[in-house]
């Protein structure tokens, strides 16, 4: 007889959602979190896309700590001197409230409290070392020599999956599995944010950046989200490019981003209030561990359920959904937990958007982390735009000639543009 029906490792969006669903269905749940309170060990941009939360907290809008709703979304390419952006505002986006800008420190604490309210036992300040395994079956969780037994374990430990690694259930991470995220939270008065980003107190701005201006072979993306009275500014840097570079410090990439003329203006007079760093799953399905075994399931970042096509970064929604589906799999098979019954978790993920998205966009990282998207395309666009918009009192050329000239100066061939462009369109 186990002490708990289910032990959930990690009170982030995946773990807490799983715990809520399990507790709502009468299961005896232990939710273990090393941060005290929950959220103090987590780092994220953060925008929660979609409405998955409603599946476990139907009235979430009444109490969830949402900073602002995304009403304007941008994707911007930064070269050394220019910014080329696609900016999207829509009444429909505004009304659907699809993007919720949150601060994880507040949000995770709120969601964990919902799990507690639903009946889960929340234990904070406890670091789980590994899964307790007996005869090939997971029988609980272990810290030092203490074992707490459970019929099933949901591993929702986040992007740095120490429990899975320590338990021999996944190999160590490599440069290709994850990128390094660095984030700063910068204080700005609410009215300054409203004015500067052209939003009102409920609406918010979310932007992703392609940092093509970085030299020495570095590749990195950036993000900026407006919270209530702070701004989240960060980068996600490719580790294999940083390794190949060999002279630049990761934190200097963040520094260069902050100092970029178009970013500097946006955070002017802001007071830096927190510096943070975290791994970001980037490898997609090729980095995915085995998602289930005899007595355990893996959800959220620990399962590499994040997705970025350069336009949107998503992960919290996948975390919530995978947590719920892990819970449902356990609930449906509560009297017969084994490897075969838990395998149904993967079927559920396949039927949902989680694995569909990941399979659909398989290989996207080769596009988003390519020199073509990061450097060649923005440089070409910059050159074309300058020719189009910079009036110098000279006769104007046709667009085709401008593009040809720009490509010539960037040593790019039409065939390269077409081949690479096709790859981008195919994968995006």
């Amino acid at each position: 007889m186990s002490e708990f029906d289910v032990a959930v490792i990690g009170a982030g969006p995946a773990g807490s959602s799983a715990a809520i669903r399990l507790a709502q269905n009468g299961m005896n749940v232990l939710l273990v979190e090393r941060g005290d309170p929950p959220g103090t060990k987590n780092v994220s941009g953060a925008v929660l896309w979609g409405n998955e939360l409603a599946k476990v907290v139907p009235d979430w809008e009444r109490s969830a700590p949402v900073e602002r709703y995304v009403t304007r979304k941008e994707v911007a390419f930064l070269t050394e001197k220019s910014k080329i952006a696609i900016s999207f505002s829509s009444e429909e986006l505004q009304n659907s409230k699809s993007g919720k800008i949150i601060v994880r420190g507040k949000f995770d604490q709120w969601l964990a409290k919902k799990a507690k309210d639903a009946g889960a036992m929340l234990v904070t300040g406890v670091t789980v070392d590994r899964l307790a395994i007996d005869n090939g079956k997971v029988i609980g969780i272990q810290q030092d020599n203490d074992v707490i037994t459970a019929d099933a374990v949901v591993v929702a430990e986040g992007a740095n999956p120490r429990v899975l690694i320590n338990s021999g259930l996944r190999p160590k991470l490599s440069d290709r599995d994850v990128a390094l995220g660095i984030k700063e939270t910068i204080k700005l008065p609410e009215n300054v944010i409203n004015e500067r980003f052209n939003v009102d107190s409920k609406s918010g701005f979310a932007s992703e950046f392609v940092l093509g201006f970085l030299d020495d072979g570095l590749l990195s993306g950036g993000f900026l989200y407006t919270n209530k009275d702070t701004v989240s500014l960060g980068i996600v840097a490719s580790l294999d490019r940083l390794r190949a570079n060999g002279v630049t410090h990761s934190y200097d990439i963040m520094g260069k981003f902050e100092e970029h003329p178009f970013i500097k203006n946006l955070i002017k007079d802001g007071i830096p209030d927190e510096y943070a760093a975290h791994l970001v799953p980037e490898g997609g399905i090729s980095s995915m561990p085995k998602l289930y075994g005899n007595g355990y399931l893996v959800a959220g970042d620990a399962a590499a359920f994040t997705f970025s096509n350069g336009m949107v970064l998503q992960g919290i929604n996948y975390a919530i959904t995978s947590g719920i589906l892990a819970a449902d799999t356990i609930i449906e098979n509560r009297n017969n937990i084994n490897e075969n019954t838990l395998a149904k978790y993967v079927d559920k993920l396949r039927e949902s958007y989680v694995l569909s998205d990941l399979y659909n966009f398989n290989g996207i990282q080769n596009v988003t982390w390519s020199d073509f998207v990061q450097k060649s395309l923005p440089t070409l666009a910059e050159s074309v735009m300058m020719s189009l918009f910079d009036e110098k009192g000279m006769p104007k050329k046709h667009l085709r000639q401008i593009v040809t000239d720009a490509m010539k100066s960037g040593h790019m061939k039409y065939s390269d543009l077409i081949t690479n462009g096709y790859r981008v369109i195919k994968r995006m």
Partner: protein, 90 residues
């Protein structure tokens, strides 16, 4: 703003009895790349007169150095209990 100033914004509950990351100085002394120095976002790894200096107290627990070190020097574990960095915003 320098990295030292950025790190000074952070709160920690430091576990003086347990270094959750340790290095093997013998491996580090012959390391050809010291990628840990460039990868760590919290400046925990520095080179002083060509010798690697490591301090775990400023660690933000991202796990990057564990991936960065391909020579087997870094032994990485999570801090015990609720020790380590305490993020306000995260």
């Amino acid at each position: 703003m320098k990295i030292e100033e950025k790190l000074s914004l952070l709160n920690y509950k430091t576990d003086k009895s347990y270094a959750h990351i340790t290095i093997n100085p013998d491996i580090c002394s012959t390391c050809p790349d010291h990628f840990c120095v460039f990868a760590c976002p919290a400046n925990c790894y520095t080179l002083i007169n060509g010798k690697l200096n490591f301090k775990y107290e400023d660690c933000v627990e991202c796990g990057t150095c564990d991936i960065a070190c391909s020579h087997g020097s870094v032994k990485w574990t999570l801090p015990k209990g609720d020790n380590g960095v305490i993020y306000k915003y995260g």
